[in-house]
Structure formats: structure tokens, C-alpha cells
Symmetry: C2
Subunit: 160 residues, 2 copies
């Protein structure tokens, strides 16, 4: 389920509904039982229940954290490109996940641009060559303020 | 399903059956619809149907490739530790996945030790301090001999 956007932002609400439908159209993503938890224009938040992602040690499976982080990064680039009026296929090119502490709660993954100043160069590359790359960083926070996992990822976009 | 081991290797066959049960006991792994494709003592192979992992572009979802590679690495360390008579919890500590080409076929992930000579030091660390780390490398091969994705990962083990 998508958390409702503020009533004064129908454009963003519609964009999140499209992203949600996009996610749900992919069988492996539907299997994650994830939801869009929020988007403020900078950070995209995805959540998923621990019960669907518990490993043999009773905490969250590392592969699930990696998938949720990757999807948050992918969705962030998708939302920002759509807002810029660019229709592109987006692929994860490189992802590094560091697992820092076990997570015993529901999963939350938060993704943002690693360097917001790099966005204009990404858009310029897409306009000039039809393809470009952008770095995204992500985190799965712990309830106590620590981090269960962090992501450093590169996404490639190819204009359709 | 586990591919039957050769009839002359009942120990390995039993170990693969235990690993298979271990995988299936984890809800997020069961959702991947994966299977143990083989183990020769050096490389563990896991497979999964493309239909369960297809993304919005008709090829394999990057997060699924990362999960399958991570599970292959985890299973490899599990099998080798069990063969060494060591009962330990195994965690992925750090994983880097490079996505090199789209995969339009069923998924296969193959994991082996990055440096087989490092194994004895890993076992020594577990014996001396009850914990240790080992590097694993993995690949999702393409039918044409290329690579869809590669993994460089570090796994931590803590003796139970």
C-alpha cells in the first residue's frame, strides 16, 4: 500500500501510484510484499514485513535487505527521471551492500542520491548521448538510530 | 529439488539435503523458488526459474541475481564448515554485485572461495577466537559464455 501523499501534492501522489503499480508488475518484487512508505522528493522509503524476510537466525535475510535497497534506489531514479519528463529504462549496474548489524524488526530501506549535484550532469548525459549513470546511496535504519545495512549503487539509464 | 549426488557420495548427498531443508525453512528463500543445482566440493550451484524473477524489461531482476549469488556463497561456506565439523552461524558481511549484461534465461548462480588457500586461516580463526571471515566469489553465467553478474562477498562465521 502506498501511504497517501499530502492532498496538496496530486502530482507526486500520482507518480507514487504509478511506481507502486510498476513494482507490483514484477513477480520477484511482488513476492517481497513491500510497500512505498514515503517520498519527499529527495528520499524514497520502502518497507516490508520481517515475517516475509526472516532468515534461519530470526533476523532479516541479507538478500532481502539488498533487494529492498536496490528497489528503493531504482524507484528513486525512476521518480526523478519521470519528474524531469524523461522516459528511460533504468538498470542497476553495480551495488555494494555492507551488513552492519542484525535487524529484528520490519524492513525499511531509504534511498537518496549520493551527490545531488551530480543530477544535472546525469540529465545532460541522457540528453546528449541517450544514456548515463548516477550514484545512489541507501540505508536500512535500526530502531535505535544505528544501521542494519548500507548501499552504494550505480544505476544506468537508457532513454527509450 | 536437489539434483541427486552420485551414488558413491552419500555424505555429500546428505549434506545437500540438509542445506536444501535449511534454505526452504527461510520464507524469503522459499519465495525465490530456487534449487540446488550441484556441488562438486569447490563450487555450489543454485538455480531459479526466470518466470519468478522477471523484471519490467523481461529480463532477470537485479535484486534476484544478488539474492541467489548471496545464497550460493552462504551455502558454500555452510557446506564447507559442516564438512570440517564446525557448527557456526554464517552471515553475509559485505557483498558487491556487478551487473554486466541482461539475463533472459533461467538463473544460475555459482559460488566458490575467492582464495582456497585462505580456508585454513579461516578455520584457525574460528578455532582460536570463535569467529572469522572468508571471501567468496560468484558468477551468474550467460548461455553464450559471458557473465550476467558477478559477486565479491565476505562472510562472517561465529561458532555456536
Amino acid at each position: 500500500m502506498t501511504r497517501p501523499a499530502p492532498p496538496d501534492d496530486p502530482t507526486r501522489s500520482a507518480a507514487l501510484a504509478r511506481l507502486d503499480a510498476h513494482y507490483r508488475g514484477m513477480p520477484p518484487v511482488a513476492a517481497l510484499r513491500m510497500a512505498i512508505d514515503g517520498y519527499d522528493g529527495d528520499a524514497l522509503r520502502l518497507s516490508a514485513p520481517l515475517s516475509a524476510h526472516v532468515n534461519d537466525k530470526g533476523c532479516a535475510f541479507g538478500g532481502s535487505l539488498g533487494s529492498l535497497l536496490t528497489l528503493a534506489g531504482w524507484g528513486l531514479v525512476q521518480l526523478r527521471l519521470e519528474a524531469a519528463g524523461i522516459d528511460a529504462d533504468i538498470f542497476v549496474a553495480d551495488s555494494r551492500v555492507r551488513f552492519r548489524a542484525p535487524l529484528h524488526d520490519d524492513l525499511l530501506a531509504v534511498a537518496r542520491l549520493a551527490d545531488p549535484a551530480a543530477w544535472s550532469g546525469f540529465i545532460a548525459a541522457l540528453a546528449a548521448r541517450g544514456r548515463g549513470r548516477i550514484q545512489v546511496e541507501g540505508v536500512v535504519p535500526l530502531a535505535d538510530g544505528g544501521e542494519a545495512a548500507t548501499l552504494d549503487a550505480s544505476f544506468a539509464a537508457i532513454v527509450r
